[in-house]
Amino acid sequence: MRRIGWIILAAAVFGLPLATANTYYLYVGASVGLLTIVTAGLNILTGFTGQISLGHAGFCAIGAYLAAILTVGAGLHPAAAALAAVAGAAAVGVVVAGAALRVSGPYLAMVTIAFGIIVEGVLVEWVGLTGGPGGIFDIPKPTLAQGYLIICAVAACALWLVRNLRASPWGRAFLAVRSSEVAAESLGLSAYFVRIVAFTISAGFAGASGALFAFLNGYISPDSFGLQTSILYLLALLFGGVGTVAGPLAGSLVLTVLPELLTSLVDYRLILYGLLLLTSIYWLPAGLVGALAGRRAAGFAAAPAPPAAAPSDAPAAEGQPGALLEVAGVGIAFGGVAALAEVSVQVPATGIHAIIGPNGAGKTTLLNILSGFYSPGSGTVRLGREAVSGRPPYAVARLGIARTFQTAQLFGDLTVAENVAVGIAGRRLGNVLGAMLGAPAVRRRERRLAEESGALLAAAGLAEWADRPADALPAGSRRRLEIVRALATRPTLLLLDEPAAGLGPTEIRELIAELSALRDHGGPAIILVEHHMDLVMAISDRITVLDYGRVIAEGSPGEVRRHPGVIEAYLGAAG
């Protein structure tokens, strides 16, 4: 059904020059195509990673001027000039992204606005290169019909590239980073790096649109690339439907054609335009396409699970004689208050090590240090021979430490199977160009990922949920999915932050069985922060007790249970 829709659309678009020679229609059609190319790229940045840019007109300008200067000044073939324009815009995109994506929200908006204004200013001032306010004339241009067809072909291509990208490890990484940055980092993804890639691709798309704009008109000037233009890009994307494949096309169509229809109203035109935008933000929060299509289709359907796939294919601990994890004299203070002081713990390569203590004892703080979210003020953490302390979370995850969170941090927009696939792929996202082109190797890998995640979900009893959005999972299953996803990274050490919180007695019994099975079948070492004493006493091999940020006891469950200091900490001083 969907495919037929696209075919009819393509026939209409490419048949237009046959049906009419009216230059006005063709020009408006080409303008829709140009806007579609930019917004398709912006969709990767805004729709997938959730970052906003108000400076993409700057990248369009760079593409347009590079194309113009290379053809008019250097006599390059237009196609070569266009490719150079894309590369140039993407290259500037990397630099801008490196600076811009260190910040987020309004700060990011500001950096991108500033970039756009600087580009516009340079275009006006650097008269020798850019022709100043007058711009560049006599750019070699094809006939309007040719230009129209080329632009529509590139726009179709742009939408196709974005669709492929969405259905690849990169697409999932983009959405994962938007959905929960901490969870993405805990699986080995650097949110900063992933966003830079998204920003760079979107800059390249804008560069392509700019180059085509120059060739379509044969003339460019700085006026076409102001802040208003950047705002228009964002509005078109949001109006069409952010994060959907067809959204950029729909938004571009309406926001290009509508002002043309309103030209007879002259003075009221922009007021109506503003009113329309405002009402659309009210009534179409998911955009035109989002409103029509309901929920977005899943990235991939989980493959039927091969029956005998055992979930416990995590690498067996290599029988190291010493401790796997060594925490030595770790301390950390927040605003002068010591949350942890002189904490030393050793965790062997197998078994379950529980960390307990009253509220505020510093248990979760310790987990955050072990997973790289906090950097300890003193002391060291080592995993095998590698230092953990001082590394960012994604680097710690790559060492083989996985974790869950007190409130399950799922990637709500991704399906349950995709959540697991993010864990399996981890940092290994593959070649981004291959992902956009839908290369055979990428597709084969997708099938493997689908099979693997299907198998892991089947083993965890979540197979029926595989293709549902993770947000739809009931509470108990959310935590289970989070553990499956963490295990999918094949960690050597798994950190569980209160996995029993909010579970009923039956679910806790299941959890006990699952964790014991994991331990007995060569799973990773587990550090368990937990309040639920039945659970802790039932499955822990060793227990460390924290109170006021210090270790007050350590030993087997039996020893800890009888330890006078522990009893005092939990029940208050007895007499």
Binding site: R102, Y107, I281, F334
Partner: protein
Amino acid sequence: MLVQLLVTGLALGSMYGLVALGYHITWVTSRTMNFAQGTAVMAGAVVAYGCHVGLGWPLLPSLAVTLAALAAYGIAIERIAVYPFFRTASPAWLLSTIACGIIAENTAMLLFGKDARAFPSALTQQPILVGGAGFYPQELLIPVVGLCLVAGVQYFYHRTSYGKQLKAVAWNAEAASLMGIHIPRAVMAAYALSAVLAAVAGVLLAPILNVAATMGTIIGLKAFAVAIIGGLESAPGIIVAGLAYGLVESLVAGYLSTGAREIVGFALVILVLIIRPWGLLGSRPTRRV
């Protein structure tokens, strides 16, 4: 020359700071802001022009009507464009405020016309000569009024009961709400105050810049830059950043060229954010895990 540039820079800079304070006030109470804050500057100037020049009213009643109208404008923006998206993760408020800005600017264009008009200063048009440099009294008045208002706003937030309530909302909305503070009303008040500050800037700048429907855009943008490099959460940072931005801009325009003004100004904004990602006096938010 230098003294003149410094005075001009301080005058403009204090106005950027004043408008930027409007971003700060709504940001801390609601984590949203009016991206079209520049239209409030413009609206202030246009309404004042309409009353004072158009209807021929004396200055003070014109001012009173202007400030009341702009408080209503701020509340309208909050009700229409912000409240429906309050504390949602989506950037919808950003786009809806931009949409409101487009509507406001073009309505003003329709009513006021496309041309810029001169706004007579209440003060003498005779430049005061000091050591060979001439100053318009208006230029000297602007930073004084601007800084007094900033001081007034600070006093309001730190010393008055209602100001402290608003500040409590900024710190922790949930706790403030439990203490009986009416959050939606606090947000409305913040938007009203924010628009009023912008209107004051518009009225003060009108005699220098002339009144036009499009006058607000670039002021709003520079004020946003000032709010960001000062640190959205830090009022003192914003004032310092505003004055610094005005001075840099004025000096670049005077000694380099007016064309380089925007390039240098916004390049510095990026540079500041690379070195201090949360603004000059802002503090990095701690990461919640």
